[in-house]
Symmetry: C2
Subunit: 222 residues, 2 copies
Amino acid sequence: MAKTVAEYLQPVHAFLACETPDAWIAFAAREDQLPALLADHANCEMKAAQTAQALMWRYGTPRTHSAVDTSGSQASMLHKLSRLAREELRHFEQVLKIMKKLSLPYLAVPASRYATGMIAAAEKHDPQALVDKLIIGAFIEARSCERFAKLAPHLPPLVADFYISLLKSESRHFSDYLALAETFAGTNIEARVEYFRQVEASLVLSEDAEFRFHSGTPVEAA
Amino acid sequence: MAKTVAEYLQPVHAFLACETPDAWIAFAAREDQLPALLADHANCEMKAAQTAQALMWRYGTPRTHSAVDTSGSQASMLHKLSRLAREELRHFEQVLKIMKKLSLPYLAVPASRYATGMIAAAEKHDPQALVDKLIIGAFIEARSCERFAKLAPHLPPLVADFYISLLKSESRHFSDYLALAETFAGTNIEARVEYFRQVEASLVLSEDAEFRFHSGTPVEAA
Protein backbone atom coordinates (compact mmCIF):
# COMPACT_ATOMS: atom_id res chain seq x y z
CA MET A 1 0.00 0.00 0.00
CA ALA A 2 1.24 3.50 -0.81
CA LYS A 3 2.71 5.42 2.11
CA THR A 4 0.74 8.38 3.46
CA VAL A 5 2.16 11.89 3.77
CA ALA A 6 2.31 11.38 7.54
CA GLU A 7 4.37 8.23 7.08
CA TYR A 8 6.86 10.05 4.84
CA LEU A 9 7.12 12.86 7.36
CA GLN A 10 7.55 10.80 10.52
CA PRO A 11 11.31 10.04 10.09
CA VAL A 12 11.90 13.59 8.82
CA HIS A 13 10.39 15.16 11.93
CA ALA A 14 12.27 12.71 14.14
CA PHE A 15 15.52 13.76 12.44
CA LEU A 16 15.12 17.54 12.70
CA ALA A 17 15.50 19.40 16.01
CA CYS A 18 12.68 21.85 15.31
CA GLU A 19 9.75 22.63 13.07
CA THR A 20 9.82 25.60 10.69
CA PRO A 21 8.55 28.66 12.66
CA ASP A 22 4.98 29.73 11.85
CA ALA A 23 6.33 33.22 11.09
CA TRP A 24 8.33 31.79 8.16
CA ILE A 25 5.26 29.96 6.85
CA ALA A 26 3.16 33.14 7.08
CA PHE A 27 5.79 35.10 5.15
CA ALA A 28 6.35 32.38 2.52
CA ALA A 29 2.60 32.11 1.90
CA ARG A 30 2.30 35.81 0.93
CA GLU A 31 1.24 36.16 -2.69
CA ASP A 32 3.91 38.82 -3.32
CA GLN A 33 6.62 36.36 -2.21
CA LEU A 34 5.64 33.55 -4.61
CA PRO A 35 8.03 34.60 -7.43
CA ALA A 36 11.00 34.72 -5.01
CA LEU A 37 9.99 31.42 -3.39
CA LEU A 38 9.81 29.62 -6.74
CA ALA A 39 12.99 31.21 -8.14
CA ASP A 40 14.97 30.22 -5.03
CA HIS A 41 13.41 26.76 -5.15
CA ALA A 42 14.48 26.36 -8.80
CA ASN A 43 18.03 27.43 -7.89
CA CYS A 44 18.08 24.98 -4.95
CA GLU A 45 17.10 22.07 -7.21
CA MET A 46 19.83 22.93 -9.71
CA LYS A 47 22.42 23.32 -6.97
CA ALA A 48 21.35 20.07 -5.30
CA ALA A 49 21.96 18.29 -8.61
CA GLN A 50 25.36 19.95 -8.93
CA THR A 51 26.33 19.08 -5.36
CA ALA A 52 25.47 15.42 -5.90
CA GLN A 53 27.61 15.38 -9.04
CA ALA A 54 30.50 17.15 -7.32
CA LEU A 55 30.41 14.36 -4.70
CA MET A 56 30.34 11.75 -7.48
CA TRP A 57 33.32 13.31 -9.20
CA ARG A 58 35.36 13.89 -6.04
CA TYR A 59 34.66 10.67 -4.14
CA GLY A 60 33.10 8.18 -6.54
CA THR A 61 35.09 8.13 -9.77
CA PRO A 62 38.42 6.25 -9.93
CA ARG A 63 41.56 8.17 -8.98
CA THR A 64 44.92 7.74 -10.74
CA HIS A 65 46.54 4.34 -10.06
CA SER A 66 43.35 2.87 -8.64
CA ALA A 67 40.15 1.43 -10.05
CA VAL A 68 36.63 1.31 -8.64
CA ASP A 69 35.10 -2.10 -7.93
CA THR A 70 31.83 -1.90 -9.84
CA SER A 71 30.17 -4.22 -7.30
CA GLY A 72 31.33 -2.21 -4.27
CA SER A 73 30.01 0.63 -2.12
CA GLN A 74 31.78 3.34 -4.12
CA ALA A 75 29.99 2.29 -7.32
CA SER A 76 26.74 2.08 -5.40
CA MET A 77 27.28 5.67 -4.17
CA LEU A 78 27.83 6.77 -7.79
CA HIS A 79 24.60 5.12 -8.83
CA LYS A 80 22.56 6.59 -5.96
CA LEU A 81 23.91 10.12 -6.38
CA SER A 82 23.41 10.03 -10.13
CA ARG A 83 19.74 9.05 -9.72
CA LEU A 84 19.35 11.73 -7.07
CA ALA A 85 20.87 14.37 -9.39
CA ARG A 86 18.47 13.33 -12.15
CA GLU A 87 15.50 13.73 -9.84
CA GLU A 88 16.63 17.19 -8.72
CA LEU A 89 16.97 18.25 -12.37
CA ARG A 90 13.49 16.96 -13.12
CA HIS A 91 12.16 18.99 -10.19
CA PHE A 92 14.00 22.03 -11.56
CA GLU A 93 12.18 21.55 -14.87
CA GLN A 94 8.88 21.21 -13.00
CA VAL A 95 9.41 24.46 -11.05
CA LEU A 96 10.25 26.23 -14.33
CA LYS A 97 7.03 24.89 -15.88
CA ILE A 98 4.96 26.08 -12.91
CA MET A 99 6.46 29.60 -13.09
CA LYS A 100 5.54 29.63 -16.79
CA LYS A 101 1.97 28.42 -16.13
CA LEU A 102 1.53 31.14 -13.50
CA SER A 103 3.08 33.72 -15.90
CA LEU A 104 5.77 34.48 -13.31
CA PRO A 105 9.30 35.56 -14.25
CA TYR A 106 12.31 33.59 -13.00
CA LEU A 107 13.79 36.22 -10.68
CA ALA A 108 17.47 36.69 -9.87
CA VAL A 109 17.72 35.53 -6.24
CA PRO A 110 21.12 35.16 -4.54
CA ALA A 111 21.58 32.06 -2.37
CA SER A 112 20.53 32.07 1.29
CA ARG A 113 22.92 31.76 4.23
CA TYR A 114 21.62 28.23 4.95
CA ALA A 115 23.84 25.86 2.92
CA THR A 116 26.92 28.08 3.39
CA GLY A 117 26.20 28.14 7.14
CA MET A 118 26.08 24.36 7.25
CA ILE A 119 29.22 23.91 5.14
CA ALA A 120 31.09 26.41 7.35
CA ALA A 121 30.46 24.07 10.30
CA ALA A 122 31.94 21.06 8.46
CA GLU A 123 35.42 19.58 8.75
CA LYS A 124 37.63 20.67 5.83
CA HIS A 125 39.73 17.51 5.53
CA ASP A 126 38.85 13.99 4.44
CA PRO A 127 37.74 11.46 5.43
CA GLN A 128 35.54 13.51 7.84
CA ALA A 129 34.78 16.14 5.18
CA LEU A 130 32.95 13.57 3.04
CA VAL A 131 30.91 12.25 5.97
CA ASP A 132 30.01 15.82 6.99
CA LYS A 133 28.92 16.72 3.45
CA LEU A 134 26.68 13.66 3.34
CA ILE A 135 25.15 14.49 6.76
CA ILE A 136 24.55 18.07 5.57
CA GLY A 137 22.90 16.66 2.45
CA ALA A 138 20.57 14.65 4.69
CA PHE A 139 19.62 17.77 6.69
CA ILE A 140 18.98 19.92 3.61
CA GLU A 141 16.72 17.23 2.12
CA ALA A 142 14.91 16.64 5.42
CA ARG A 143 14.29 20.37 5.95
CA SER A 144 13.03 20.77 2.37
CA CYS A 145 10.65 17.89 2.94
CA GLU A 146 9.36 19.39 6.19
CA ARG A 147 8.84 22.83 4.60
CA PHE A 148 7.06 21.45 1.51
CA ALA A 149 4.55 19.69 3.77
CA LYS A 150 4.00 22.56 6.20
CA LEU A 151 3.80 25.23 3.49
CA ALA A 152 1.64 23.37 0.94
CA PRO A 153 -1.78 24.05 2.54
CA HIS A 154 -1.10 27.81 2.33
CA LEU A 155 -0.15 27.93 -1.37
CA PRO A 156 -2.12 28.09 -4.66
CA PRO A 157 -3.35 24.54 -5.59
CA LEU A 158 -0.93 24.14 -8.53
CA VAL A 159 2.11 24.76 -6.29
CA ALA A 160 0.62 22.92 -3.31
CA ASP A 161 0.03 19.72 -5.29
CA PHE A 162 3.55 19.89 -6.67
CA TYR A 163 5.05 20.35 -3.20
CA ILE A 164 3.18 17.34 -1.86
CA SER A 165 4.39 15.31 -4.85
CA LEU A 166 8.00 16.20 -3.95
CA LEU A 167 7.74 14.75 -0.42
CA LYS A 168 8.29 11.19 -1.55
CA SER A 169 11.57 11.76 -3.39
CA GLU A 170 12.93 14.32 -0.93
CA SER A 171 12.35 11.93 1.97
CA ARG A 172 14.16 9.19 0.02
CA HIS A 173 17.04 11.59 -0.71
CA PHE A 174 17.23 12.31 3.03
CA SER A 175 17.59 8.61 3.89
CA ASP A 176 19.98 7.99 0.97
CA TYR A 177 22.34 10.71 2.19
CA LEU A 178 22.14 9.44 5.75
CA ALA A 179 22.83 5.84 4.72
CA LEU A 180 25.81 6.98 2.60
CA ALA A 181 27.18 8.95 5.56
CA GLU A 182 26.95 5.81 7.73
CA THR A 183 28.61 3.64 5.07
CA PHE A 184 31.54 5.97 4.53
CA ALA A 185 32.04 6.82 8.21
CA GLY A 186 32.36 3.13 9.06
CA THR A 187 31.53 4.09 12.65
CA ASN A 188 28.59 5.48 14.64
CA ILE A 189 27.75 8.99 13.40
CA GLU A 190 25.06 9.93 15.93
CA ALA A 191 27.23 12.50 17.76
CA ARG A 192 28.14 14.19 14.47
CA VAL A 193 24.49 14.15 13.36
CA GLU A 194 23.51 15.78 16.66
CA TYR A 195 26.15 18.50 16.14
CA PHE A 196 24.74 19.40 12.71
CA ARG A 197 21.18 19.09 14.07
CA GLN A 198 21.92 22.02 16.39
CA VAL A 199 23.67 24.06 13.68
CA GLU A 200 20.72 23.50 11.36
CA ALA A 201 18.11 24.40 13.98
CA SER A 202 19.90 27.64 14.83
CA LEU A 203 19.93 28.65 11.13
CA VAL A 204 16.20 27.95 10.96
CA LEU A 205 15.21 29.58 14.25
CA SER A 206 17.40 32.70 14.29
CA GLU A 207 16.37 35.93 12.57
CA ASP A 208 17.15 36.27 8.88
CA ALA A 209 16.87 39.52 6.89
CA GLU A 210 16.49 37.68 3.58
CA PHE A 211 13.57 35.49 2.57
CA ARG A 212 14.51 32.23 0.85
CA PHE A 213 13.29 28.62 0.77
CA HIS A 214 15.73 27.75 3.56
CA SER A 215 15.86 31.12 5.35
CA GLY A 216 15.51 31.67 9.11
CA THR A 217 12.74 33.50 10.96
CA PRO A 218 11.75 36.61 8.96
CA VAL A 219 12.95 39.76 10.75
CA GLU A 220 9.78 41.77 10.27
CA ALA A 221 7.65 39.00 11.75
CA ALA A 222 9.94 38.30 14.71
CA MET B 1 6.70 4.68 -37.57
CA ALA B 2 9.93 4.44 -35.59
CA LYS B 3 13.03 5.83 -37.28
CA THR B 4 15.67 3.36 -38.47
CA VAL B 5 19.32 3.53 -37.41
CA ALA B 6 20.17 4.76 -40.92
CA GLU B 7 17.67 7.60 -40.56
CA TYR B 8 19.18 8.67 -37.24
CA LEU B 9 22.65 8.57 -38.77
CA GLN B 10 21.94 10.45 -42.00
CA PRO B 11 22.07 14.02 -40.53
CA VAL B 12 25.00 13.01 -38.31
CA HIS B 13 27.09 11.86 -41.27
CA ALA B 14 26.08 14.96 -43.23
CA PHE B 15 27.29 17.13 -40.33
CA LEU B 16 30.72 15.53 -39.78
CA ALA B 17 33.62 16.04 -42.21
CA CYS B 18 34.89 12.47 -41.93
CA GLU B 19 34.10 8.99 -40.70
CA THR B 20 36.02 7.47 -37.80
CA PRO B 21 39.13 5.74 -39.26
CA ASP B 22 38.94 1.94 -39.48
CA ALA B 23 42.18 1.78 -37.48
CA TRP B 24 40.42 3.36 -34.49
CA ILE B 25 37.53 0.89 -34.78
CA ALA B 26 39.96 -2.05 -34.91
CA PHE B 27 41.76 -0.82 -31.81
CA ALA B 28 38.56 -0.03 -29.89
CA ALA B 29 37.15 -3.49 -30.64
CA ARG B 30 40.11 -5.26 -28.95
CA GLU B 31 38.93 -7.21 -25.93
CA ASP B 32 41.79 -5.85 -23.80
CA GLN B 33 40.63 -2.28 -24.51
CA LEU B 34 37.03 -2.79 -23.35
CA PRO B 35 37.63 -1.68 -19.72
CA ALA B 36 39.31 1.56 -20.88
CA LEU B 37 36.60 2.17 -23.51
CA LEU B 38 33.79 1.80 -20.97
CA ALA B 39 35.57 3.80 -18.23
CA ASP B 40 36.22 6.69 -20.62
CA HIS B 41 32.65 6.44 -21.90
CA ALA B 42 31.33 6.66 -18.31
CA ASN B 43 33.50 9.73 -17.67
CA CYS B 44 32.28 11.35 -20.92
CA GLU B 45 28.63 10.89 -19.91
CA MET B 46 29.26 12.45 -16.50
CA LYS B 47 31.18 15.35 -18.03
CA ALA B 48 28.54 15.90 -20.71
CA ALA B 49 25.95 16.24 -17.92
CA GLN B 50 28.21 18.69 -16.08
CA THR B 51 28.87 20.74 -19.22
CA ALA B 52 25.14 21.06 -19.91
CA GLN B 53 24.58 22.25 -16.34
CA ALA B 54 27.50 24.69 -16.51
CA LEU B 55 25.84 26.21 -19.60
CA MET B 56 22.51 26.35 -17.72
CA TRP B 57 24.10 28.09 -14.77
CA ARG B 58 26.20 30.51 -16.82
CA TYR B 59 23.74 31.45 -19.56
CA GLY B 60 20.29 30.31 -18.51
CA THR B 61 19.65 31.36 -14.93
CA PRO B 62 18.74 34.97 -14.12
CA ARG B 63 21.60 37.39 -13.43
CA THR B 64 21.48 40.15 -10.81
CA HIS B 65 19.04 42.95 -11.72
CA SER B 66 17.38 40.92 -14.43
CA ALA B 67 14.77 38.18 -14.60
CA VAL B 68 14.24 35.38 -17.10
CA ASP B 69 10.99 35.34 -19.10
CA THR B 70 9.72 31.83 -18.40
CA SER B 71 8.03 31.75 -21.84
CA GLY B 72 11.17 32.83 -23.71
CA SER B 73 14.13 31.20 -25.43
CA GLN B 74 16.38 31.38 -22.35
CA ALA B 75 13.88 29.33 -20.31
CA SER B 76 13.52 26.92 -23.20
CA MET B 77 17.33 26.48 -23.25
CA LEU B 78 17.25 25.73 -19.52
CA HIS B 79 14.59 23.10 -20.04
CA LYS B 80 16.37 21.44 -22.99
CA LEU B 81 19.78 21.35 -21.30
CA SER B 82 18.31 20.01 -18.06
CA ARG B 83 16.64 17.12 -19.92
CA LEU B 84 19.86 16.50 -21.80
CA ALA B 85 21.86 16.41 -18.55
CA ARG B 86 19.37 13.92 -17.08
CA GLU B 87 19.76 11.65 -20.09
CA GLU B 88 23.58 11.77 -19.88
CA LEU B 89 23.39 10.82 -16.20
CA ARG B 90 21.10 7.91 -17.01
CA HIS B 91 23.59 6.74 -19.63
CA PHE B 92 26.35 7.03 -17.02
CA GLU B 93 24.35 4.73 -14.74
CA GLN B 94 23.83 2.31 -17.62
CA VAL B 95 27.57 2.15 -18.44
CA LEU B 96 28.26 1.50 -14.74
CA LYS B 97 25.73 -1.33 -14.75
CA ILE B 98 27.29 -2.90 -17.86
CA MET B 99 30.78 -2.78 -16.32
CA LYS B 100 29.34 -4.53 -13.26
CA LYS B 101 27.57 -7.19 -15.36
CA LEU B 102 30.80 -7.88 -17.24
CA SER B 103 32.73 -7.95 -13.91
CA LEU B 104 34.95 -5.14 -15.17
CA PRO B 105 36.51 -2.54 -12.86
CA TYR B 106 35.91 1.17 -13.45
CA LEU B 107 39.45 2.18 -14.43
CA ALA B 108 41.09 5.55 -13.82
CA VAL B 109 41.31 7.06 -17.31
CA PRO B 110 42.43 10.69 -17.79
CA ALA B 111 40.46 12.70 -20.36
CA SER B 112 41.43 12.63 -24.03
CA ARG B 113 42.73 15.64 -25.99
CA TYR B 114 39.45 15.84 -27.94
CA ALA B 115 37.18 18.16 -25.91
CA THR B 116 40.12 20.32 -24.76
CA GLY B 117 41.26 20.57 -28.38
CA MET B 118 37.83 21.78 -29.45
CA ILE B 119 37.51 24.27 -26.57
CA ALA B 120 40.99 25.65 -27.36
CA ALA B 121 39.69 26.61 -30.81
CA ALA B 122 36.71 28.51 -29.38
CA GLU B 123 36.34 32.25 -28.83
CA LYS B 124 36.90 33.15 -25.15
CA HIS B 125 34.47 36.08 -24.94
CA ASP B 126 30.69 36.21 -25.11
CA PRO B 127 28.45 36.31 -27.03
CA GLN B 128 30.57 34.22 -29.46
CA ALA B 129 31.87 31.97 -26.65
CA LEU B 130 28.35 30.67 -25.94
CA VAL B 131 27.63 30.00 -29.63
CA ASP B 132 30.99 28.21 -29.99
CA LYS B 133 30.34 26.04 -26.92
CA LEU B 134 26.95 25.04 -28.33
CA ILE B 135 28.48 24.21 -31.74
CA ILE B 136 31.18 22.15 -29.99
CA GLY B 137 28.43 20.35 -28.06
CA ALA B 138 26.78 19.49 -31.36
CA PHE B 139 30.03 18.04 -32.75
CA ILE B 140 30.78 15.97 -29.65
CA GLU B 141 27.27 14.48 -29.70
CA ALA B 142 27.40 13.85 -33.46
CA ARG B 143 30.80 12.15 -33.25
CA SER B 144 29.64 9.98 -30.32
CA CYS B 145 26.61 8.95 -32.34
CA GLU B 146 28.75 8.06 -35.38
CA ARG B 147 31.19 6.02 -33.27
CA PHE B 148 28.47 4.13 -31.38
CA ALA B 149 26.99 3.02 -34.71
CA LYS B 150 30.28 2.12 -36.42
CA LEU B 151 31.74 0.36 -33.38
CA ALA B 152 28.65 -1.58 -32.24
CA PRO B 153 28.94 -4.53 -34.68
CA HIS B 154 32.45 -5.25 -33.33
CA LEU B 155 31.55 -5.34 -29.63
CA PRO B 156 30.09 -7.98 -27.26
CA PRO B 157 26.26 -8.09 -27.68
CA LEU B 158 25.52 -6.49 -24.29
CA VAL B 159 27.60 -3.40 -25.15
CA ALA B 160 26.57 -3.40 -28.83
CA ASP B 161 22.84 -3.31 -28.00
CA PHE B 162 23.43 -0.52 -25.50
CA TYR B 163 25.38 1.54 -28.05
CA ILE B 164 22.61 1.20 -30.62
CA SER B 165 20.08 2.25 -27.98
CA LEU B 166 22.10 5.44 -27.38
CA LEU B 167 21.91 6.57 -31.02
CA LYS B 168 18.45 7.99 -30.68
CA SER B 169 19.16 10.32 -27.75
CA GLU B 170 22.66 11.29 -28.91
CA SER B 171 21.32 12.30 -32.33
CA ARG B 172 18.63 14.39 -30.62
CA HIS B 173 21.29 16.02 -28.40
CA PHE B 174 23.24 16.86 -31.56
CA SER B 175 20.27 18.65 -33.12
CA ASP B 176 19.33 20.32 -29.81
CA TYR B 177 22.81 21.83 -29.47
CA LEU B 178 22.81 22.96 -33.08
CA ALA B 179 19.36 24.55 -32.78
CA LEU B 180 20.42 26.36 -29.58
CA ALA B 181 23.56 27.65 -31.33
CA GLU B 182 21.39 29.05 -34.15
CA THR B 183 18.94 30.64 -31.69
CA PHE B 184 21.62 32.38 -29.64
CA ALA B 185 23.75 33.43 -32.62
CA GLY B 186 20.77 35.21 -34.16
CA THR B 187 22.65 35.00 -37.47
CA ASN B 188 23.84 32.35 -39.94
CA ILE B 189 26.38 30.09 -38.24
CA GLU B 190 27.42 27.93 -41.22
CA ALA B 191 30.91 29.47 -41.53
CA ARG B 192 31.56 28.92 -37.82
CA VAL B 193 30.24 25.34 -38.04
CA GLU B 194 32.58 24.72 -40.98
CA TYR B 195 35.53 26.04 -38.96
CA PHE B 196 34.83 23.61 -36.08
CA ARG B 197 34.10 20.83 -38.62
CA GLN B 198 37.74 21.05 -39.76
CA VAL B 199 39.11 21.28 -36.19
CA GLU B 200 37.09 18.23 -35.22
CA ALA B 201 38.13 16.20 -38.26
CA SER B 202 41.81 16.92 -37.64
CA LEU B 203 41.49 15.70 -34.02
CA VAL B 204 39.85 12.51 -35.30
CA LEU B 205 42.19 11.84 -38.23
CA SER B 206 45.59 12.78 -36.74
CA GLU B 207 47.68 10.31 -34.75
CA ASP B 208 46.95 10.00 -31.04
CA ALA B 209 49.14 8.15 -28.55
CA GLU B 210 46.26 7.61 -26.11
CA PHE B 211 43.20 5.47 -26.73
CA ARG B 212 39.90 7.01 -25.65
CA PHE B 213 36.30 7.14 -26.85
CA HIS B 214 37.07 10.34 -28.79
CA SER B 215 40.76 9.74 -29.54
CA GLY B 216 42.44 10.15 -32.94
CA THR B 217 44.02 7.46 -35.11
CA PRO B 218 45.92 4.98 -32.87
CA VAL B 219 49.69 5.44 -33.31
CA GLU B 220 50.54 1.75 -33.47
CA ALA B 221 47.98 1.11 -36.19
CA ALA B 222 48.93 4.14 -38.24
